[in-house]
């Protein structure tokens, strides 16, 4: 109960700070904190497999890739036509539309959740923590999507190499 609120507050605060930072490096590091909190929530949800791959794959691999690119490009600050002294979240123009859209989306989602909920949302008693069951399901029922995923990763890898390659005279 308490743990849920601790992790939820950490996740929300870290995510808010991610989109509030001027320096992308801080954004990436804060997003790793947010992923850590989400991993704790997965543990509370009886899903250790999801929690572990959240840390290993997301925080470990994908965020390091982001961090690597941020450092490679060495462009820490946002260059805009807007006033640099104004915080990015309070700048004028089309961004107000985006903020309003996000608030409207949040209101709609919370309304929809409350509409369907009540006390009906109690969790069932059964355990879903078995990594063995997940593995068996992945290699039998989901064998084809699993193999398609490997092709997707291969295509992404080749695509990334081709896109980021420095062409002579281009």
């Amino acid at each position: 109960m308490t743990l849920f609120y601790v992790f939820a507050v950490v996740a929300i605060l870290a995510s808010l700070l991610v989109i509030g930072q001027r320096n992308p490096i801080y954004s990436v590091l804060l997003l790793i904190a947010s992923f850590g909190a989400l991993s704790g929530l997965y543990v509370l949800l009886d899903a250790p497999f999801a929690a572990v791959i959240q840390i290993i794959v997301y925080a470990g691999a994908i965020m390091v890739l982001f961090l690597f690119v941020v450092m490679l490009l060495n462009a820490p600050h946002e260059d805009t036509e807007y006033d640099e002294r104004v915080h990015p979240l309070f700048r004028p123009g089309p961004m107000r539309f985006g903020a309003a859209l996000a608030v409207a989306l949040l209101a709609e989602l919370v309304w929809a959740v409350n509409k369907g909920g009540g006390e009906a949302g109690q969790f069932a008693g059964g355990s879903v923590a078995s990594v063995g069951a997940i593995g068996r399901s992945l290699f039998t029922e989901y064998a084809f999507p699993f193999e398609v995923t490997s092709i997707l990763i291969l295509v992404a890898m080749v695509g990334a190499v081709v896109l980021a390659r420095h062409e002579k005279g281009a």
Partner: protein, 100 residues
């Protein structure tokens, strides 16, 4: 007692934060990070519903979402590097060659 609704509301908040990030920020890397926030909000929904239905399929979908997110991040960041090499900028407003 923490119910399914608590997790769904938290997920909705995170998704809205991600949406706001995509629209508010003018930095390609932060926009990609906001997309990751949205993907994670959806992952939380999947795991919560999987727990609710006592079904491992929720976690399997999370596994697939994560692999797709990894592929998306790799290709997206390669595009960012290529764009930065051409324009010396990470501002999406600088890439308007296709604008009519």
């Amino acid at each position: 007692m923490v119910t399914l609704n608590h997790y769904l509301v938290l997920s909705a908040v995170l998704f809205a934060i991600g949406t706001a990030g995509v629209f508010v920020r003018r930095n390609l890397i932060t926009i990609l990070l906001s997309i990751e926030i949205m993907l994670n909000a959806v992952n939380l929904t999947f795991v919560a519903f999987g727990r609710y239905a006592a079904d491992v399929n929720g976690q399997i979908i999370v596994f697939f979402v994560m692999t797709v997110a990894a592929a998306e991040a790799a290709v997206g960041l390669a595009l960012v590097i290529a764009l930065f090499r051409n324009r010396e900028s990470l501002n999406p407003d600088a890439f308007t060659s296709l604008k009519w």
